[in-house]
Symmetry: C2
Subunit: 381 residues, 2 copies
């Protein structure tokens, strides 16, 4: 990072002031007073990386998150929290994590005494997000939690409250908001390059395997396909339109006798109405062959991402003026971008693009989707 | 057509018996008795074409239907019914129609005295289908009518009743049921090549122009995008699944102040539940940039047609076993196939694949879609 000009310092000071308004928020970097006794944030030196603790060493952590640190500019992995010491030790060796920084679920709270850890990333089953997020915040750490943020809106609110009380950042891991294709889709849509947006189509799901996995247990997952994968359809409709839905219809189906769907829903398809008149038609399933796409249809054209929200390999087609073109964008690691955003928000005391409030909004809509499916009536928000 | 073997005659006799059961139905071809005094239908000689009258010489007739006769094997155009004698005379010259066979809406009923006309094709605004179909049947002619069959289920029932009373065939012009791509999609879906069908996505619409056209008048069109173009989404969900929906959700939107949508709906998106558990998520719009596609998602794969129901240029992709392949099928004229089917049904006294009852079923579901959109409640069928 180059030496800051006076103008940039002023802008940064402005950002640090408006970026959340959290009393006592921890700010990375040195604090100074300027000539008028105004607080100045002196940024961290170039190359500084914040220390991350990964909580939960399942498939996502092993296959995506840990490898992503190699691509991070502002984030490094320094600690693990796991119930499997063998696995944690092997991964510590591979990723250069000090074995002293391996915690388990019993001594998790002692992470507060570890100054190497700035940020905790919760990669646990959904039903454990609230507890481990709140405990992490209480330990004085900033927290990034996987989506869905929690099982219920009430849990989300507890997490937001804990973040405010602790003066620590809370972010939800809405990966797609940080990668180039979805950002470009948002830009195109909101700039009205396709004319006014009329309809958003979004479909996410796959044919889920092992009936004994946590994703199919109500207490651990909070729900079925909607909580895990349909949330991508919902998020897409929300971030593409830039609006909050005010009406929801839904229809749900579980294959009778299928051992996978004893506790949670298989398929739940939903319709959203947004205040401007944009309508979304979305599907979510644990029972169909992989779907991962969305299409934004405007008055003058449409754009499609297929796949839209996979970890890699996204493809965009844009139709306008009777021409369909494929648009290629730089390939970036989604997790690295997401984690570096969180580190940057901590370093610069900025509010994350996807704070706890964003996770709470999704949970509220998802509850309305379940309500609509269960009552056969339009649910209002 | 070659000389028929005894076995084929027996099969044909069987078909003529089971193909409709309409008392007094007109049968093209000679009737004979066999040795057991059973009635035999002796088929028409090879190359015989039935005579068609086209009612309504608008864009569809001029650009699609009349040129299609060149591709027909069993159908020829022999008469016009039009309110524009100049246009009718010019087209008669071009298509070799005897000027004596040009009727207008006043003398339409005298078509009963014209033995050259076997079949009448109603290509009028929706609100006129019922009247001109019933009058055509009463004139002793078989009738093919454009979709939607009529403005209301009650009108459809009157048309079906008139067909039965007159002993004449009644068919609805569901063109896609007769062309190779949609037939192959139906075959793949119903044969469970993709596993059990879970979700059907279907989207049809376009940004409609001239606010003064009949499609935007409630009395002539019966409704808005749903009646005209959304019906393709509905049809696709029904013919792909091979089932009748029993529950419907819907959401509707009209852009405030848009002069096109004073009388009829702009966008109406709907969800269908079928008895086997198949769910459909469909859109229909007069306000968005051209959409013409569907996707069938099964447990093991999916297929997509895009465009799915255009007059030409259909494309099919099929995904199975981690491979997506494009399938090319013979290019055929949809209207020629559809008209020849009708001619064949008349020649062989068979029930059309898409009889009046099929049009009535769509109208009943469309009324349920409007009901669901208007009440905000799941409509049951």
């Amino acid at each position: 990072m180059p030496v800051l000009s006076k103008k940039e310092i002023t802008r940064r000071r402005f950002i640090s002031k408006v970026g959340g308004g959290i009393v006592g928020a921890s700010v990375s970097g040195m604090l100074l007073k300027d000539a008028n006794a105004q607080q100045l944030v002196v940024p961290d030196p170039p190359g500084k990386k914040l220390g991350w603790a990964i909580v939960g060493l399942g498939s996502l952590s092993i296959h995506e998150i840990l490898p992503a640190f190699a691509k991070c500019e502002k984030s490094k992995v320094v600690a693990f929290v796991s119930g499997h010491p063998d696995k944690a030790n092997k991964l510590a060796l591979r990723y250069g994590v000090n074995p002293k920084n391996i915690f388990n679920y019993q001594n998790y709270d002692t992470i507060k005494d570890n100054p190497e850890v700035d940020i905790i990333y919760i990669v646990l089953p959904n039903g454990m997000h609230a507890e481990y997020t709140v405990r992490g915040l209480q330990a004085g750490k900033h927290v990034l939690t996987e989506k869905p943020m929690a099982n219920t809106p009430a849990e989300c609110q507890q997490m937001i409250d804990a973040s405010r009380k602790a003066g620590r950042k809370l972010m939800v891991a809405y990966r797609c908001r940080y990668e180039p294709y979805n950002r470009e889709a948002i830009r195109i849509t909101r700039s009205h390059e396709l004319g006014a947006t009329k309809v958003i189509l979004a479909d996410h799901g796959f044919n889920i395997g092992d009936p004994t996995q946590w994703r199919l247990k109500k207490d651990l997952a909070g729900g079925g396909s909607l909580m895990d994968i349909g949330i991508y359809s919902l998020q897409a409709a929300r971030y593409l339109s830039g609006e909050e839905p005010n009406e929801v219809n839904a229809v749900m189906y579980n294959t009778p006798g299928d051992p996978r769907f004893k506790e949670v829903e298989e398929t739940i398809n939903f319709q959203l109405r947004f205040p401007s008149g944009v309508l979304a038609n979305c599907t979510s399933s644990y029972g169909y062959a992989g779907q991962n796409h969305y299409r934004v249809v405007g008055t003058e054209g449409w754009l499609e991402l297929d796949p839209a929200t996979s970890y890699r390999g996204l493809r965009m087609r844009v139709y306008r003026g009777n021409v369909t073109e494929e648009r290629e964008l730089p390939v970036r690691d989604h997790f690295a971008l997401e984690m570096d955003h969180m580190s940057e928000c901590v370093m610069e005391n900025k509010e994350p693009l996807t704070p706890g409030e964003e996770g709470l909004r999704d949970l509220k809509v998802m509850m309305a989707i379940y309500e609509a499916a269960n009552t056969g009536k339009t649910a209002k928000l």
